[in-house]
C-alpha cells in the first residue's frame, strides 16, 4: 500500500506548517487545521472560489492560482482571498444591441487600460486577458467571447489590475451579447419547439407511457442507435 509521504515545509499566513507532499494548497490548509468557509467551492477547478496568492520564502515574486488545483511545493507562503470587490454593470440584455460601443458604454473604465499585462500574468486559466480587453476596446465582441470562454471568474485579474478594471465581467457581457445576438440561429431547434407546441409528439409519448413494462423494454432493446461518430468532418 501507500508509502508514507515526505513532509514539506510551508507557511500559512506566516505560520510554519509541515504537510505531506502530494496535497493541493486547499487540502494543505485543511491538513493544517483550517476549516474552509470562503475560499472553497467546487474543489475541481471550475467555480473560481479558491483564488489564491502565494510566493516562496526566498522569492518575493507573487504568484496566483486556484488552491484546489495547485500542488503545494516546499517553502510556499500561502493565503486565500475570501472576497474581492468588483464592479458589475446592470443591464437588460433584451434592450442592448450587439454593438461594440455598448461595451464602453457599460464599462467606461476599460479605456484606462495601459497594457501592463498583469491580468494575463495573473490568470490561473492562462487566458490572454489583456488581449481580449484590447478586443473589447475595439468593440470586437466575437473575439472577446472566444478568447475569454474558459474564464472561471475567480476575480484574480480584477484584484491585480492597477486601474481597477474587471476583465471577467467585461468578458461575460461580451459572451452574453454574442450568444444572444451574434451566434447563428439554430433552425432545427426553432422547428422542434413549434412541433412540440403543436402536439406532434403527444400521441407517441402517450403510447410509450401506456405501454407495459415488457413492451417498453422490447422497444428500448430494439431501438436503433445513431453512430456516436458523426461523419461530417470527413
Amino acid at each position: 500500500m501507500a508509502e508514507q509521504a515526505r513532509l514539506i515545509d510551508i507557511y500559512i499566513m506566516g505560520r510554519h506548517c509541515q504537510v505531506p507532499e502530494g496535497l493541493t494548497i486547499l487540502t494543505a490548509l485543511e491538513y493544517s487545521g483550517y476549516r474552509m468557509l470562503r475560499g472553497c467551492g467546487c474543489r475541481a477547478g471550475f467555480c473560481g472560489a479558491c483564488a489564491t496568492i502565494y510566493n516562496f520564502k526566498n522569492d518575493p515574486q507573487l504568484r496566483y492560482d486556484l488552491a484546489c488545483q495547485k500542488a503545494v511545493e516546499p517553502d510556499m507562503c500561502l493565503v486565500q482571498i475570501p472576497f474581492f470587490p468588483a464592479a458589475k454593470a446592470v443591464y437588460d440584455l433584451e434592450k442592448l444591441e450587439p454593438d461594440g460601443e455598448k461595451i464602453k458604454a457599460l464599462y467606461p473604465d476599460i479605456v484606462k487600460c495601459f497594457g501592463c499585462n498583469t491580468c494575463t500574468k495573473t490568470c490561473p486559466q492562462e487566458l490572454e486577458v489583456m488581449w481580449f480587453m484590447t478586443d473589447a476596446l475595439r468593440g470586437d465582441i466575437r473575439a472577446v467571447a472566444d478568447k475569454s470562454f474558459d474564464c472561471v471568474m475567480c476575480g484574480l485579474c480584477a484584484a491585480r489590475c492597477p486601474q481597477g478594471l474587471v476583465p471577467y465581467n467585461v468578458a461575460l457581457l461580451c459572451r452574453r451579447l454574442y450568444g444572444r445576438y451574434l451566434a447563428p440561429v439554430s433552425e432545427h431547434l426553432d422547428n422542434r419547439i413549434s412541433e412540440i407546441e403543436s402536439g406532434k409528439f403527444d400521441a407517441e409519448i402517450e403510447g410509450l407511457k401506456e405501454a407495459g413494462n415488457k413492451e417498453l423494454r422490447r422497444r428500448y432493446a430494439e431501438r436503433d442507435m445513431e453512430p456516436a461518430l458523426e461523419q461530417h468532418w470527413e
Partner: protein
C-alpha cells in the same frame, strides 16, 4: 508524468490501438446488465444500507451516511425561537442557488413574486458549474422527444415516473432556447445547427455543449441575470430548518449566517428547495466529484417537514473519476471523453465494456475489472483504476480535436505533466449524483403545501440511474416550472400563523425510536476535512 511501471502499461495500451480502431464491443442485454449491477454496483451492498425508523419514509432503505442525517437531531430549539418575527418577509424563498435555484428565482420574479434567494456558499457555487459534457434536448430532425423518453426510461431501468420524464423531454428544446436568449454560447456549426454529441445510453446525438465548460457557461449567465434583475440574495446563509404554519403549509425558513453565526428568520408564502446533491457525504467512503456544500441539507429539511422522498437507495457513481495524480483523486473526467471516442482499457490493453453504456453499467464493469478479474492497475498511492484511452479521440477525429473539445480536461492534467492528447488517463468510479430525492409532481410541488423542489435534490425523473446531460436539463426544466408554480401558489395561499411544532414532534419521534442520542445534528452544512489530533488519516485525504 506517470511513474515508470505505469508507463510500461501504457505501451500495452498503445499496442492494441490499431485493433481497437475497428473493434466494437456489443451492448449488454438487459439481463446481463442486471447481473453485472447486482454483483458489482455499490448500491447492491446490503450492509451499506439502513432502513429508516422515523418519518414518512419509515421502512425505506438508504445509505448509512444519509440515514444518519435524515434521522438527525435539529440544530434548532423551538422553545427559544419565535418564528412569527421575521427578518425578511417575501413571497417566494429559494433555498440553494445552482442552476435549478437560479431558474426558479428568475421565473418566480418574472411572474411578479417578491423573491429571496439564500445559498450556503457563493451565488452559483454548486454542482452545476462542474457539469462538463452537456445538456440533452431532442431537437435534431432524426431525433424526437419520444426517443429521448425511451432512452431516459431505459437508463433509469424503467422505474422513472413517466409524467416527469414526459415533461423533461418535451420542455427540453425550449429550455435550450431560453438559455440561448439569456446569452448562453452553445457549440454550433457555422450555419447555426447545434453541434451535438451522443453519450452513454443515448441513441441519438443530443448533447448541447459549451466546450467542456457547459455547466459553468450556463451558471455564469444565470448568475449574471439574477444580478441584472436585482433579485435579493444572501450568501453563506444555509437554511437550517423550514417553518410551517398552523394549517400545515410552508411558512418560511430559519437560516444561519455561517460567518456571524446569527439565525435569520424568513417568512415566505412558498419555498423552492434547490439544494442539490449529497456527494460530500462520501457514501461508502467513495471520493466525489461534488462541490464543497453537497451535503443533502435539502433532503433533511424537507423530510423533517413531512415531505416524501423517493429512490433514496440509489446513488450514481460516475465511471470515470481521476485516480492519478493524487491531487485530483475522485475529480470528474467528463463522459464527453468517451463520447468523443475514448475507450476503457484494462491492464492488458483490452477493452472490456462498450464505452457508451449507461453510467451504472460502465461503473460496475470497471469495478468488476479491478476487483473481480484483477485486471486493474494500482497507483503509487494504492488506488485501483483502468485506462481511459483519450489519445484515441485525436486518432479517430483528427489532430487538435481534444484541445478544441476538452480544454478543461487538457488544462487540468497538464498541471501535473500529463498530456491527455498523448497519454491515457487512469480512472475509477467516483460518487457523482443522487438519483433520488424529494418526490415532486410536474410543477415541482411536494406533498407539503407551498413546498416546491427542483434539481438534484428531487427524485423520480431519473428512476434508478440518470443519463448524461439529463441533470443540467432537469435544472432548467423543473427549476422554471417550480419557480412559476411557487409564484402562482404564493398569490393564492391564505396564510396561517407560523410554528415550529413539527420540530417538537420530530424530536419526540426520535426519542421514541431511541435514536435521539445515536444520531448527529443535521443538516450537516459542510464536510469536515480538518486534520484532528489523532493525526493524518487516509480517510481525511480521500475526502477530496
Amino acid at each position: 508524468m506517470y511513474p515508470a511501471y505505469l508507463e510500461e502499461s501504457i505501451h500495452l495500451v498503445e499496442d492494441t490501438r490499431v485493433r481497437r480502431l475497428i473493434e466494437t464491443i456489443p451492448r449488454l442485454a438487459e439481463d446481463e446488465k442486471a447481473d453485472l449491477l447486482r454483483e458489482y454496483h455499490p448500491d447492491y451492498i446490503a450492509t451499506s444500507m439502513h432502513k429508516l425508523q422515523v418519518g414518512i419514509n419509515k421502512g425505506d432503505a438508504t445509505p448509512l451516511e444519509l440515514a444518519d442525517l435524515l434521522e438527525g437531531n435539529s440544530r434548532i430549539d423551538p422553545d427559544r425561537i419565535d418564528p412569527s418575527k421575521p427578518d425578511h418577509n417575501v413571497d417566494v424563498l429559494v433555498i440553494g442557488c445552482g442552476g435549478a435555484g437560479a431558474s426558479a428565482a428568475l421565473l418566480a420574479h418574472e411572474a411578479g413574486a417578491r423573491v429571496f434567494i439564500t445559498t450556503k456558499l457563493r451565488l452559483g457555487d454548486a454542482n452545476t458549474v462542474g457539469a462538463q459534457a452537456g445538456t440533452q434536448a431532442a431537437d435534431r430532425p432524426n431525433d424526437s422527444p419520444a426517443i429521448h423518453y425511451l432512452d431516459t426510461m431505459g437508463g433509469g431501468h424503467f422505474e422513472n415516473i413517466p409524467e416527469l420524464v414526459e415533461v423533461l423531454v418535451k420542455d427540453a428544446p425550449s429550455a435550450i432556447k431560453w438559455l440561448e436568449k439569456l446569452g448562453v454560447n452553445w457549440d454550433k456549426e457555422p450555419d447555426g445547427a447545434m453541434y451535438e454529441l451522443s453519450g452513454g445510453g443515448t441513441s441519438r446525438r443530443r448533447l448541447h455543449s459549451a466546450r467542456d465548460y457547459t455547466g459553468l457557461e450556463e451558471m455564469r449567465v444565470l448568475r449574471d441575470e439574477l444580478q441584472n434583475k436585482k433579485i435579493d440574495y444572501l450568501e453563506f446563509a444555509p437554511a437550517v430548518e423550514l417553518i410551517l404554519d398552523d394549517r400545515g403549509q410552508i411558512a418560511g425558513a430559519i437560516l444561519l449566517n455561517m460567518e456571524t453565526e446569527e439565525l435569520i428568520i424568513v417568512r415566505a408564502r412558498a419555498v423552492v428547495m434547490t439544494t442539490g446533491g449529497i456527494g460530500r457525504l462520501h457514501i461508502q467512503g467513495f471520493p466525489t466529484t461534488n462541490h464543497y456544500g453537497a451535503t443533502a441539507d435539502g433532503l433533511v429539511l424537507a423530510y423533517r417537514a413531512g415531505a416524501e422522498l423517493i429512490f433514496i437507495d440509489t446513488m450514481q457513481y460516475h465511471p470515470t473519476g481521476a485516480v492519478y495524480p493524487l491531487q485530483i483523486l475522485g475529480q470528474l473526467v467528463t463522459e464527453k471523453v468517451r463520447t468523443l471516442g475514448a475507450q476503457l482499457v484494462n491492464s492488458n490493453g483490452e477493452q472490456f465494456v462498450m464505452p457508451l453504456e449507461p453510467r451504472d453499467t460502465v461503473a460496475s464493469a470497471i469495478i468488476r475489472e479491478c476487483q473481480g478479474r484483477q485486471y486493474g492497475l494500482r497507483t503509487p498511492n494504492g488506488e485501483l483504476g483502468v485506462w481511459l484511452d483519450s489519445p484515441m479521440i485525436d486518432i479517430l477525429r483528427g489532430e487538435g480535436t481534444i484541445a478544441r473539445e476538452l480544454p478543461a480536461m487538457v488544462r487540468q492534467f497538464r498541471r501535473f505533466n500529463i498530456d491527455i492528447t498523448r497519454e491515457p488517463i487512469l480512472v475509477y468510479p467516483t460518487l457523482h449524483y443522487q438519483n433520488g430525492g424529494i418526490k415532486i409532481d410536474t410543477d415541482g410541488a411536494t406533498n407539503v403545501p407551498g413546498l416546491y423542489a427542483a434539481g438534484e435534490c428531487t427524485g423520480g425523473v431519473h428512476g434508478r440511474n440518470r443519463l448524461i446531460g439529463n441533470s443540467t436539463l432537469e435544472l432548467f426544466v423543473f427549476g422554471r416550472r417550480a419557480g412559476r408554480a411557487a409564484a402562482r401558489y404564493a398569490k393564492e395561499v391564505k396564510r396561517g400563523s407560523p410554528t415550529l411544532e413539527h420540530l417538537r414532534q420530530w424530536q419526540k419521534d426520535l426519542e421514541r425510536a431511541g435514536l435521539a442520542r445515536e444520531r448527529p445534528v443535521s443538516p450537516r452544512l459542510l464536510p469536515d476535512y480538518v486534520k484532528r489530533a489523532h493525526g493524518y488519516t487516509r480517510q481525511v485525504f480521500q475526502a477530496d
